[in-house]
């Protein structure tokens, strides 16, 4: 009933916008990373033709990121922080999502609102809240002194890895719980009844029915929080600010805003993106395989 060109015409402005301001900018990062640097002004000179690419800056960045290079420690640290934070997200988030999806009855709506609420409170405000609580005379130190765990205030904000990991968990865990809740809520209750009718204990039912069926939800939540964590620089900056807790994102921020070496910053951004695309592809392949298995 509609003319054939109509929908293509509708899609056009959006597609053009995304090509101009999403695809081409990404190509600009590549062109700068594989480009030259003006020897006198030290400004980047992007090379748009792939045949003339200069691999010098890229190989410098890769050498520094490899074991033995000066940025290797940052790579290891970033991976450690992300792995620990994601692991804690699973440990805290799974029971919460499971309870809301399976057991909460009268309180379910309230719990769902409380679950979504942090997503709409500014991330920066949530970090600010903890900066206040963790200050030398903040509630956390006052409580610990009052309960005689410590005798002098602990410098939580003086470049402690534990504070950064804690802040990462606090910042991103709502994004983990929500998709996991959705996947747990979707599980067909008749599977659980079947397991019970066949004599499985609740624990076995959980282990052999619920857990496997929520695998894609867990994985989805993990990817969803791991991607922004790998690119995070503001969380470590806010709660620590010390070079001893600097992550890959901090290095990129540093090369652009503090030392004006955009070329090496662009190379790092490109390497980070490549790594994240691999992570994303792994997730998509796993989900596709799981969907096929469930349909079989």
């Amino acid at each position: 009933m509609y003319p054939g060109w109509l929908w293509r015409g509708f899609a056009l402005p959006g597609v053009v916008w995304l090509i101009l301001l999403f695809i081409i900018p990404f190509y600009a990062v590549t062109a700068v990373a594989f480009g030259q640097v003006n020897p006198t002004l030290l400004t980047p000179e992007p090379v748009w033709n792939p045949l003339q690419w200069n691999v010098g800056w890229m190989s410098e960045a890769l050498t520094r990121l490899r074991p033995g290079g000066d940025l290797w420690v940052v790579v290891v640290r970033t991976c450690e922080y992300v792995v620990v934070s994601v692991g804690m997200c699973i440990a805290i988030g799974y029971p919460v999502a499971y309870y809301i999806a399976r057991h909460a009855t009268r309180t379910k709506s309230l719990l769902l609102i409380l679950l979504i609420l942090p997503l709409w409170i500014s991330y920066l405000m949530r970090m600010l809240a903890w900066v206040n609580l963790l200050a030398p005379d903040g509630y956390v130190n006052r409580f610990l002194i009052w309960s005689h765990v410590i005798s002098t205030p602990y410098g939580w904000l003086d470049g402690r890895p534990i504070t950064v990991i804690f802040a990462l968990i606090y910042g991103y865990i709502p994004f983990f719980i929500l998709p996991l809740y959705a996947s747990l809520d979707r599980i067909d209750k008749s599977f659980l009844e079947a397991a019970r009718d066949l004599g499985a204990s609740p624990f076995r039912t959980f282990l052999h029915v619920t857990l496997p069926l929520s695998k894609t939800g867990i994985l989805g939540g993990c990817v969803l929080v791991a991607l922004p964590m790998f690119g995070d620089y503001y969380t470590p900056n806010i709660v620590s600010g010390a070079p001893t807790t600097s992550m890959v994102g901090n290095q990129i921020d540093l090369y652009f805003h503090y030392t004006s070496q955009p070329t090496i910053g662009a190379a790092l951004t490109l390497i980070l993106s490549f790594f994240l695309v691999v992570l994303m592809a792994y997730y998509m392949v796993t989900v596709a395989r799981a969907t096929k298995e469930q349909q079989a």
């Binding site: 009933m1 293509r8 402005p13 959006g14 301001l21 409170i121 929500l178």
Partner: protein
């Protein structure tokens, strides 16, 4: 655990109210049956997630300069102090800049997103698959990658665009479009095509079917999409930061970031509270709009919650 009577077989239903010891033992034997452990974790999590923010809100009303020691209720950090939200030029201009960016984002990203959703849902043929694919990328790209790439394209290729308000608006629209698309497309799939086909059978021209049938049906999703654009734009830190040219292109999240790293005053808490209230108000209004426009449809709230969940994935 010191009962002298032999325990009854586990299958026997306990008579009356079981003793605390037995309740504890049955809880160990079957931790998933009575989910007290889960109740505890869930509510502890909720308290942990919300209470720190409430304390930060409380201290925005502190009577002294401290953000950690309570000195009585006062609104000085909102209106009267020289460095209050109203009097501090940095904070008040940040608030203006944030509102300006969010308004521009809603005005530009909502129509583009709605049209793109319609196009992607209905357009079959060359280019539709890859367009669908491109649309998903801004949702999963870490913001720092987007910030770096926009900064580099504005400084090296589109050099007629300088960093500052205009560049920030372009950046915000770029990451907002996909959110509008996801919400509107969800609604398109749930209403199906039967209403437009009925209109066509009754003699409506394509234009009439589109404007008089499809558009009203899409209104709730358009309202929700606009509200979410506003909320994510006003909350955004990374893109504004990378595309800012300093001075009066500082947004509220950037001001909070700068103040937190230097020496925050309760006025920082105050502006953060205002920011969060604006965000929450826009989300609540969007949700209310969705409910009002879908009144009479079954499970209307479900759809919105579903859309929100989908939008986060």
């Amino acid at each position: 655990m010191t009962t002298t009577t032999p325990a009854p077989p586990r299958t026997a239903a306990p008579q009356g109210r079981p003793s605390a010891a037995r309740r504890l033992r049955s809880w160990f034997a079957n931790p998933w049956g009575r989910p007290r452990f889960l109740v505890l974790i869930t509510w502890t999590y909720m308290v942990w997630a919300i209470v720190p923010v409430l304390i930060a809100v409380q201290y925005s009303f502190n009577g002294s300069r401290s953000r950690t020691i309570w000195a009585g209720f006062s609104t000085r950090w909102y209106i009267s102090d020289p460095s209050s939200v109203i009097n501090d030029p940095t904070l008040s201009s940040a608030l203006q800049q944030s509102l300006k960016l969010a308004a521009a984002d809603v005005i530009i990203a909502t129509p583009i997103g709605v049209l793109l959703a319609l196009g992607l849902a209905r357009w079959r043929g060359r280019g539709s698959g890859s367009s669908n694919f491109i649309m998903l990328f801004p949702l999963v790209t870490p913001e720092i990658v987007m910030g770096v790439s926009l900064l580099l394209v504005f400084t090296n290729l589109f050099t007629f665009i300088h960093t500052g308000t205009f560049a920030q608006i372009l950046g915000h629209v770029t990451f907002s479009i996909s959110y509008v698309v996801v919400i509107v497309r969800g609604r398109l799939f749930s209403i199906g095509r039967q209403y437009e086909e009925a209109a066509a059978d009754l003699g409506a021209s394509p234009r009439v079917a589109l404007v008089k049938v499809l558009l009203p049906l899409l209104t709730p999703a358009i309202v929700a999409g606009a509200a979410i654009c506003f909320a994510i734009s006003i909350d955004d830190f990374v893109i504004s930061y990378w595309l800012s040219s300093g001075g009066n292109t500082t947004t509220v999240p950037m001001a909070i970031y700068a103040a937190t790293r230097a020496a925050p005053l309760p006025s920082t808490n105050a502006i953060a509270t205002i920011l969060s209230l604006i965000t929450l108000a826009s989300v609540v209004l969007g949700y209310a709009g969705y409910r009002i426009f879908t009144r009479g449809e079954r499970a209307a709230g479900q759809g919105m919650v579903g859309d929100m969940a989908a939008f986060d994935i």
